[in-house]
Symmetry: C2
Subunit: 239 residues, 2 copies
DNA sequence: ACCTGAACACCGTTCAAGT
DNA sequence: ACCTGAACACCGTTCAAGT
């Protein structure tokens, strides 16, 4: 609501890559992905496009940098808490990303496209490392590290992105519950022959808590880890 | 290589929504996401922009339609095979999506953005239904259908998207193995203190088969399903 | 070294006009 | 009903020129 920088204000700080990235994040947060343009950026920073291009190669690099900055901040806040168990630590990492994507919905699309742009640059190792450390701490055999960390990463980013969509108002005056209710209703109107599963699931969807559901997915994956550890020997007479 | 339609050719078929979507998919396949423009489309269809807008609301709707068409085709090809076990059927669905995204790399980004656009329209129920039917067939309790199907969906789409990135040549004359090798090398140059896990994983990454690794992730998730059947009641004496 | 701002090529979309 | 194509507003990017 409170305008931070107005066009008439004189720029006090010198232009820098950091300030440009900061302004880019603000624009993305307030105006969405379409809101980040070089015109809006020049106005906010009280400068010309040429000045921005001196600090940043192009728009793609700026988007990558904005994404990386937000993800880095989200992952940096977690080690402050108590170490607890690896499970708790993993949940903390996951919820950190969950909240970051919830606060910055453009992150979801951006992470997906960044995976395909600077293929495995900066942000991917960052996320993989945070998740992977807990995977290692959980005692997963090294041979499975990549698979487990990858499954967790894709689920976390995908589910968090979906949640962020649900959280945003779609149309004026539409809140989260109304939105989920509308989706549920739409699903129940699908063809019973073509969509029996989706219709059945539509009933239980709007009811549950989002974070709880999110963590349930992680718990499910972790259950798979502990269930299959050394499959070769040990006949394990359960049931 | 062989140009299907040249500018001088007279358009024989009448313009239709289907032909426009078809041309859009071809452009996306050959020229990537940036290759789909209304100018390229008008040239290929030998018409003007106004004609396209008569059949399609705007570019977003066209992208949604192209995505939906390709996904529908990918999911339609699987029931032809043998029913086998639900596990095999689920693998078939997953590989169908895997291959579709591999053939049409723009699908990965497009699916991510479509999740946030027409929030849960057309393509999401389609994918969820195909996966969900096998989840149901696997005997998962109904209360968990949503969680399990969601975990599977996000993993499948995320991992397939990542694979598609790896498959495309990045730069001239760079093939898949060279690319993965380069990523592995880049990871091993990361700071040992900040990225121990990622460095450790870099070694095993370029070695494995992609489809095998992809299916290993699904097997991991399925292991979780069968391991945690009914946790609600039962006093859970753990720790 | 850092910034300005006009200019360029290109894009999605509109719309009066045709058939 | 369906199509044409000029026109509009806007975008990312460049670059000669300033300090």
């Amino acid at each position: 609501m409170a305008p931070r920088t107005r066009k008439s204000e004189r720029r006090t700080e010198a232009l820098s890559r950091e300030r440009i990235i900061e302004a880019a994040v603000e624009l993305l947060d307030t105006a969405g992905e379409g809101g980040l343009t070089f015109r809006a950026l020049t106005e906010r920073l009280a400068t010309g496009p040429g000045a921005i291009y001196w600090h940043v190669a192009n728009k793609d690099e700026l988007l990558d940098a904005a994404t990386d900055a937000v993800v880095a901040a989200a992952l940096a806040t977690e080690p402050a808490g108590s170490p607890d168990s690896p499970r708790d630590a993993l949940n903390a990492v996951a919820l950190g990303l969950f909240d970051a994507i919830d606060e910055h919905p453009w992150l979801a699309t951006q992470l997906a496209t960044q995976f395909s742009r600077g293929p495995w640059k900066s942000v991917t190792p960052r996320i993989l490392e945070s998740i992977g450390r807990q995977v290692r701490a959980l005692g997963v055999p090294e041979r499975r590290w990549f698979t487990v960390a990858t499954v967790l990463m894709h689920y976390i980013l995908g589910a968090a992105g979906q949640n962020a969509v649900n959280g945003r108002a779609h149309g004026p005056g539409v809140n989260r519950d109304e939105f989920l209710g509308a989706v549920s209703t739409a699903w129940k109107e699908l063809d019973p022959d073509d969509y029996p599963f989706t219709r059945a699931v539509a009933d239980q969807m709007p009811g549950h808590d989002d974070r709880e559901e999110f963590l349930a997915g992680i718990a499910l994956i972790l259950a798979g880890i502990t269930a299959v550890p050394p499959p070769p020997r040990s006949h394990r007479a359960r049931r």
